[in-house]
Symmetry: C2
Subunit: 230 residues, 2 copies
DNA sequence: AGGGTTGTTCTTGTATGAAGTGTTTATCAG
DNA sequence: CTGATAAACACTTCATACAAGAACAACCCT
């Protein structure tokens, strides 16, 4: 299946934003993108609009388009919803998971443990994602899984800041164990609670989080063209 | 604030789809839309793409663009998520609602009762929406409220089919009373449960629902250009 | 007669140019 | 030096022209 230019561009930009190669607040100049990708303005415009629709980019009329800069208050709100979605996935998964999926979940968890033992932070990040994706799939609700993935994408530029909190990794693993146990036992309420806490607990260390975020100038709504953009 | 042509077009099409003037599966011919609205293909294309992003329209490359036709299985999944979002709104609202918002909620409920007494189905539909919107706002989570509204929009073309189930209206009102009571009492768990049930209960009468949906040819994935489109 | 192939005709996707509108900056006057 | 006004610039938006790919149908060959 051949993807259109606009699609490729969208994926590339999305990847850039998610992986921090373009930081929130950075300007996205259409003409520059045209030259970079060797296409005309039309597909660029389309890609940008799709990113606007998914919330990763904002466009201020007559001022330019920028990588979306999410305010701290909205960030909290998004985490709150993310926790709920994860919890719902866990609740459904505990009731609906099949034997093969359960085995896949166990293996994903084991890979997380291995990555943690090896001390490979990047690898753990990846395996952690795979672990959660197992739960999404096990919920047997494709729409829910899609929404959860989309929101997670949108939060990714900020998630990467908080996984490096001291001592987060061991407790994260312990939470994973509790999650697996709850799903294995088929205890829906317990799985929901465990997953919700697993996401929300990161918000508890909020002062740390805010501190690290502020250094990136996330919360400068009042100055859209602030230092980070220039 | 002057809206662009693409925006006006998008709103018009969205309204058409939501209110059933364009049924799921119907073809959206770009050229026809151009003539209808007196604009060129560019803004039409833009509007269509925005609708694709919000899930109301699907475009099959080289085959045409159609009003999104959601399969029954996915419809169930979406209702499941909708119930969860509503429940979450209720839980947060029970904890966070202010006095003024509580009064607005009571009044919205009263207007629902009035519409029901008057037997005005359309009016009830509108007031019911206002009632739920009160709860969204009272959750004090703007992001959550936005997601809930968006999903509700996406479900609207199908919701209209089920509100006419016999005896649904009186029980719907009773559920509203329970919801208001739970929020007034500040009982988060009870409010969450009441709202979740309020949405899910509609799925219980699923055979009725499926029956009415099938007549509209919603579940004809195998025949994309089925009878409904011609 | 049936199946494969080829050609035509839709369809989407891309490019480019032009215009209109808001913002910003520079200059002039007080 | 400060304020206002005007002009220039930059961005978005729309239109039109063009290209390429896929589906469908007709036709030919087997």
């Amino acid at each position: 299946m051949k993807r259109s230019n606009a699609q490729r561009l969208r994926d590339a930009l999305e990847d850039d934003i998610i992986n921090g190669r373009r930081t929130p607040g950075e300007r996205l100049d259409p003409d520059t993108l045209c030259r970079e990708f060797g296409v005309s303005r039309t597909p660029v415009r389309e890609a940008v609009q799709q990113l606007v629709a998914s919330g990763l980019v904002t466009v201020s009329p007559k001022k330019g388009t920028f990588v979306a800069r999410v305010g701290i208050d909205e960030l909290i709100e998004m985490f709150e919803v993310m926790a709920e979605l994860e919890g719902m996935c866990g609740r459904l998964a505990a009731r609906r998971i099949g034997e093969a999926e359960l085995e896949a979940l166990r293996q994903a968890h084991e890979r997380c443990e291995a990555a943690a033992r090896a001390g490979d932070s990047d690898d753990y990040y990846y395996e952690n994602e795979a672990f959660h994706d197992c739960i999404y799939r096990a919920s047997h609700n494709g729409f829910l899984a899609g929404e959860a993935r989309q929101l997670k994408q949108r939060l990714k530029p900020y998630r990467r800041l908080q996984l490096q909190v001291r001592q987060r990794l061991p407790s994260s693993l312990a939470e994973h164990r509790e999650i697996v146990a709850a799903i294995e036992a088929g205890e829906a309420g317990r799985a929901e609670q465990a997953l919700r806490d697993h996401v929300l607990i990161q918000g508890e260390r909020f002062s740390d989080f805010v501190a690290s975020v502020r250094r990136f100038g996330v919360y400068r709504e009042a100055a859209p063209d602030g230092a980070a953009a220039r």
